[in-house]
């Protein structure tokens, strides 16, 4: 039996690609003959052995196909015709409506992604879902095959690498060793309308009107393909007199590490997440989390962090002020997050995946 992971893009750094590469290593070390094929391959992924889909070898009936689905792609149609036992790894697709004013291309891709996900309902023997939110979505699309929930596999060893020294210094140093004069409020995620970075800007405005302690908002994320949305965010910030927001653009992994290490709080206003890896990353770096309760966010937090149901900037500012200034509360949040992080540990998630994999395949 051979195990093939197939997906549209493998580019080191994004959550789906990282999950795929981590599963590749796990399957290999578990003794399986395993391969990854993708339509688009980043240079680092190529070095790790990912092969172009165009060169996919002839598959046998007993081969296992793990198909990662997260967007619209011609692969969603082609996968139906492949030999082998097929299983979906579902990462969710962003609702297309949010992209309409900013990118016709992304709106079309996501719209196709949702239609294609529905059309694939009879294709798979079973499925792995990043969250129960994703699982419920597949069920609502008419999937009747067994669907199991397993968190994304995160290789935490990578997060122990050295952060970018210059960025760390600019942000006032590692939070664990420095009491920042200007507190850093961080959000990590693509600059995209479903992530609602405008609500973080409103929160910053409210905070500065309500409190005198200085804070800095850092929006770490790539705006590629959504430049219109990014431009609108900058105009919005300018109209509110908040020209000092840090828009990092696409940055190296070392810089992301520096922003996490120097963060005093992680705040999310996102309205659509199938899992939200940055929440787990914030847990890893002991950054207290404040998040709007939507889609898979409460499930990933699992009772840890602070969540709120209404997007009132003043309420969010009050919560943030306490998190930044009340040591007892802050320590309690971090301790609860540490407890939650254990569930996402590499060993635990590997075990969950392998157990489910063997139940599905019988091998």
């Amino acid at each position: 039996m051979r195990v093939f992971q197939i997906l549209t893009t493998v580019s080191y750094g994004d959550a789906v690609s990282n999950d795929c590469l981590a599963l590749f290593e796990l399957l290999k070390t578990s003794g399986y003959e395993t391969y990854v094929y993708a339509e688009n391959i980043g240079k680092q992924a190529e070095r790790m052995g990912v092969k172009p889909y165009a060169r996919l070898q002839k598959l046998r009936d007993d081969d296992i196909i793990l198909y990662h689905l997260s967007t619209g792609t011609e692969l969603n149609e082609r996968i139906k015709a492949l030999n082998g036992r097929k299983f979906i790894i579902y990462h969710n697709t962003t609702p297309p409506d949010v992209f309409v004013p900013y990118s016709g291309k992304l709106a079309r891709l996501c719209s196709c992604g949702l239609d294609e996900t529905r059309s694939l309902k009879g294709t798979f023997e079973g499925g792995f879902c990043d969250s129960d939110f994703n699982r419920q979505q597949l069920i609502s699309y008419g999937y009747e095959c067994p669907l199991k929930v397993r968190p994304i596999l995160i290789p935490f060893e990578d997060y122990k690498k050295d952060p970018d020294a210059e960025t760390l210094e600019q942000m006032g140093g590692d939070t664990k060793e420095n009491d920042h004069k200007i507190k850093n409020v961080l959000f990590v995620g693509r600059i995209a309308p479903n992530k609602c970075q405008e609500d973080l800007i409103s929160l910053l405005y409210a905070y500065r009107k309500m409190y005198s302690d200085p804070i800095r908002l850092i929006l770490a994320g790539n705006p590629s393909g959504l430049e219109k949305y990014m431009a609108k965010l900058k105009v919005f910030a300018g109209e509110l007199g908040l020209e000092d927001i840090v828009f990092t653009g696409q940055i190296s992994f070392a810089k992301i590490l520096a922003y996490y290490r120097s963060a005093d709080a992680f705040v999310s206003m996102s309205e659509h997440e199938g899992f939200c890896v940055p929440l787990v990353e914030a847990m890893f770096f002991d950054v207290p989390i404040l998040a709007y309760s939507s889609t898979a966010v409460p499930e990933t937090l699992g009772g840890s962090g602070i969540i709120f149901d209404s997007k009132d900037p003043s309420h969010a500012a009050r919560c943030l002020h306490e998190i930044l200034n009340n040591k007892e509360l802050r320590d309690l949040i971090i301790s609860e997050q540490k407890e939650r992080l254990k569930f996402f540990g590499y060993g635990n998630v590997s075990e969950i995946f392998m157990k489910q994999f063997k139940e599905f395949t019988g091998q």
Binding site: E74, I201, A231, I307
Partner: protein, 123 residues
């Protein structure tokens, strides 16, 4: 022992900070206005530059067979699209160059106007 969420909830009951209204709504900002102010032309240029370089390719056996029989038409169509996108890219670049010139002249005009006195002479 209470959880962090319970602890914060209790603290907020006695919090005195007044609510703040955000004076500008994000929805009221025009996408077009914002875009022209921040490199939208550059992103369009990148997009059409990518589109002009689409490589015709066959994907599976069925398409390979189709390509062997009708390949000329498939590739011809892709190449035509690339040609159209490349021409659009030329127009876009010309527009962008003129736009830069218009912005430069408008700024110069404003500068000269600010130096005019009430009788129309230069101060």
């Amino acid at each position: 022992m209470s959880t962090a969420r319970e602890m914060l909830s209790d603290i907020l009951l006695s919090s005195g900070a007044a609510n703040v209204d955000v004076p500008v709504s994000f929805d009221d900002i025009s996408v077009c206005g914002a875009s022209s102010a921040d490199g939208y032309l550059e992103s369009l240029e990148r997009e059409f530059s990518d589109r002009a370089k689409v490589i015709p390719q066959y994907r599976d056996l069925k398409e390979k067979l189709g390509g062997a029989l009708f390949g000329f038409y498939i590739n011809h169509s892709v190449e035509q699209q690339n040609e159209i996108n490349a021409r659009f890219l030329d127009v876009l670049r010309e527009f962008k160059a003129n736009n830069d010139e218009i912005v430069r002249l408008s700024n110069r005009l404003k500068e000269l106007e600010s130096r005019m006195d009430d009788n129309g002479g230069i101060r």
